[in-house]
């Protein structure tokens, strides 16, 4: 049976709109990737070049001028450790709020979220002074602590909503079966909440990886992350578009590739709670 014509028109319009939006969103990134493989001259040529002989000079130059691997290592360590630390703190908090609700649960959640409403710069001076006094400026530790703290509200919220999908009777059944709190958490909640933990962890990993404000303000040459690397190409000697693009490309590539590979698990994770 042929589909009704009205339907296919709607479908066509939707498809076209979807493609336009996708291309609009993708264009800056795509252009950035192209520019990373251009010479500085090609990068600023008018009209812009779409076809050119790609060069790897920028990559060599970036690695020579700044220690890419150090920045990458800093990014990796700070984002992974802050995510794991955050999950370790947020999961028990979300567990208690999701399954042992009190009349304050809602308020605590709202309070946590409200901390994200304050602009980060509002806390800059106190945190800077604290870090300075503790002798932690330009260390990975201070970045890990700050990333963890700034992601905690989101982590608690996401885990809270994913745990709420788990029928509480299943945890009660475990309790009746003689499980201690730890066994209940470890053997029932974690396997069932794995999807939520995974997607929360992934999101916070990306957020920490891309974090720029705190790493620019609290770190320099030693603990700087890839965000700091990009920033270092942006101004002092005038703009070098090709190198800036190359540094940006090198900074975002790992997390994009990671996200790409995790797509399937992420989707699986998000639908896990639907199984009754």
């Amino acid at each position: 049976m042929a589909p009704a014509p009205a339907f296919s028109t709607v479908l066509l319009v939707r498809t076209v709109v979807a493609w336009i939006v996708t291309l609009l969103l993708f264009f800056p990134l795509g252009w950035l990737v192209l520019t990373a493989f251009k010479t500085e001259l090609q990068a600023i040529s008018v009209p812009p070049l779409l076809f050119f002989t790609p060069t790897l000079d920028n990559f060599v130059e970036v690695e020579r001028r700044s220690d890419y691997l150090l920045y990458a290592q800093n990014s990796l360590i700070t984002s992974v450790v802050s995510t794991l630390l955050g999950l370790a703190i947020a999961a028990p908090a979300a567990y208690s709020m999701a399954f042992f609700r009190s009349k304050w649960t809602r308020d605590v959640l709202m309070w946590m979220l409200s901390t994200k409403m304050m602009p980060a710069v509002g806390a800059l001076v106190p945190i800077y002074v604290l870090a300075q006094t503790a002798g932690l400026l330009d260390t990975r530790l201070v970045l890990i602590v700050v990333f963890t703290l700034s992601n905690l509200p989101i982590m608690v919220w996401m885990l809270y909503s994913s745990f709420r999908e788990i029928p509480h009777e299943i945890l009660e059944a475990a309790r009746m079966d003689g499980a201690t709190v730890w066994q209940e958490f470890r053997r029932v909640l974690l396997p069932l909440g794995m999807g939520g933990l995974f997607s929360t962890g992934l999101l916070c990993l990306v957020l920490a990886w891309n974090e720029a404000f705190w790493s620019l303000n609290l770190s320099a040459a030693k603990a700087g992350t890839l965000a700091a690397l990009i920033a270092s190409y942006s101004s002092p000697e005038g703009l070098f578009w090709a190198k800036l693009s190359c540094a940006s490309f090198m900074a975002i590539a790992p997390i994009v590739v990671f996200g790409w590979f995790c797509q399937r698990q992420l989707v699986q994770g998000l639908t896990f709670g639907a199984v009754k």
């Binding site: 059944a173 309790r175 009746m176 079966d177 499980a179």
Partner: protein, 348 residues
Amino acid sequence: MAFIELKGVEKFFGEQRAIKGIDLNIEKGEFVVFVGPSGCGKSTLLRLIAGLETVDGGSVHLDGRDITRLPSSKRDLAMVFQSYALYPHMSVYDNMSFALMLAKVNPAVIREKVEHVAKILNLEPYLKRTPKELSGGQRQRVAIGRAIVRSPKVFLFDEPLSNLDAALRGQTRVEIAKLHRELGATTIYVTHDQVEAMTLAHRVVVLRDGRVEQVGTPLEAYYRPNSQFVAQFIGTPQMNMVAGPDVAQFQSALSVPVPPGGYLGLRPESLTLSAPGGGQLQARVELVEALGAETLVYVSTARGTQLVARKNSTQNLPHVGDTVGVQIDATAAHLFDSKGQVVAPSAR
């Protein structure tokens, strides 16, 4: 001393007093059913015994030990939930062996026990499956199996059959009764289905609004209800309850007068229909429900009192609009005072 003792148990949800001081003794091996309408507190009471809710007043004792503050995991009780609450990420075998594994029982012993129970419940072919690959009835059997495997002190059932269809519900009910006969384990069973209550229980505990209304054998609750509430809650169709001035038309048939403002209760089977002019009063037939083995006849008296009569046959049925005589079996009449408390139990 009773096996399970509840002494003045109370539970508050915020300001609301959900359980209002319940005293109850349950003997070892007994099958006790908590029954009552939605919101009467029967599930809450079960959860208090299970330790899934904290007791706000009074105490709970099991086998001579005060367990009021003991966590669920240490009470040695097994519970079957309405939603089955199987572990979705584990196989049937793992679901059933979980408690024994936590208790660090020897794996060989666990295997033997799980296989034995799986055999009893016809679950052997499904041991490797996960719960989502099972039908509702199979899941329910796994939930029951998970409870049996542990040989706990007490089995707690929280409306275990309400998610099953009617045929399966009947079948599983019979299985539960059989299991109880074989295992002889102390069982507390919560239901709002009075057929389950009547058929399974040694004793029923009728709850109303957080209080115990009556405790007794199912037949005691049926034939000698303490109150108008129990009288109407137990039995299908409901006991006919005649109130106020409408009572007068039946007074001549009764040996004891109905107290002022009181109620007269008549089970549908204690009304006999006869030809017009017979019986103590005349009524008009409004509806006839032929159910096969029995027939329910709904009639309305001249004063407009609605009554339902049960006939154990489908022969010679009256028709809608017919006038019939209604004969009351006075020995089976229940009289309640204006507060709904029984004043004269039926002579049966």
